[in-house]
Subunit: 149 residues, 2 copies
């Protein structure tokens, strides 16, 4: 017993549902990533960096809705692990530009299949149209709550 979702639309059920799904995803992702030695937060930073190479730590922080100090910890750990490298930006010498190292790219490539599989598991009860609709719904929620853009 305990926990069964709200019986109807009376309560803040969607806020709770989002939290529950995110929690379940994180658990699976933690298990999946543990052997590789990176945490879920570190992995997320790596994937953002994969899509947007050359970001600074501060930009990465803004993209992730955390403070620059918080992201500094994550980036620092990734640098120690040899998964990212930092380099002074000559155009703006305050910035330390981040990029994946070959080891970092390797790690992402090795993890990709399992992560794709996890997403497939998550949506295994939905058909293609419903998956697309879910993506649009989440994007709309994020935009409505967002602090940026």
């Amino acid at each position: 017993m305990a926990q069964r979702g709200y019986p109807d639309g009376s309560g803040p059920s969607l806020l709770y549902a989002v939290k529950q799904v995110e929690l379940a995803v994180r658990r699976h992702l933690d298990d999946l990533l543990r052997p590789s030695g990176v945490t879920t937060v570190q992995y997320t930073a790596l994937t953002v960096l994969e899509r947007c190479p050359g970001l600074s730590s501060a930009e990465l922080a803004r993209a992730s809705f955390v403070t620059a100090q918080s992201m500094a910890d994550v980036v620092s750990a990734l640098e120690v692990a040899g998964l990212v490298a930092r380099q002074r930006d000559d155009a703006n010498r305050r910035r330390l530009v981040l990029d994946l190292t070959p080891a970092g790219k390797d790690l992402l490539a090795r993890l990709a299949p399992a992560v794709v599989q996890l997403e497939r598991l998550m949506v295994s009860g939905l058909d293609d149209a419903e998956v697309q609709q879910l993506g649009r719904g989440l994007a709309s929620c994020r935009a409505a709550l967002g602090r940026d853009e």
Copy 2:
């Protein structure tokens, strides 16, 4: 710049989208709850207890996918704050039954309008049918990833 979502369905975009929405929700909820002195995790425990009075801390932990030890910290803080009370279960004297105090019920009642408003903000870009579909989609994801039932 930085962050724009995946251009197509190539990457694990839904995992990322869920995380982003949950993070945005938590930020809003943190801001909303700060004056009341309870954290988002504590608030969530209170709402679960509102729906299911008489749970033990261990049951609450299972409902929230955390260990009994982790939940014990949360419950302990709520007890110190006078928002929940614990009492030995006479039928099973290992269990410490949890219930909201009048102060706890009061707090939830005072917070409810703002929380409902936050959920409305989140789905403000969706029509009623899309909101329902989002709820079904999230429930399906949770069930597919879930560890219980």
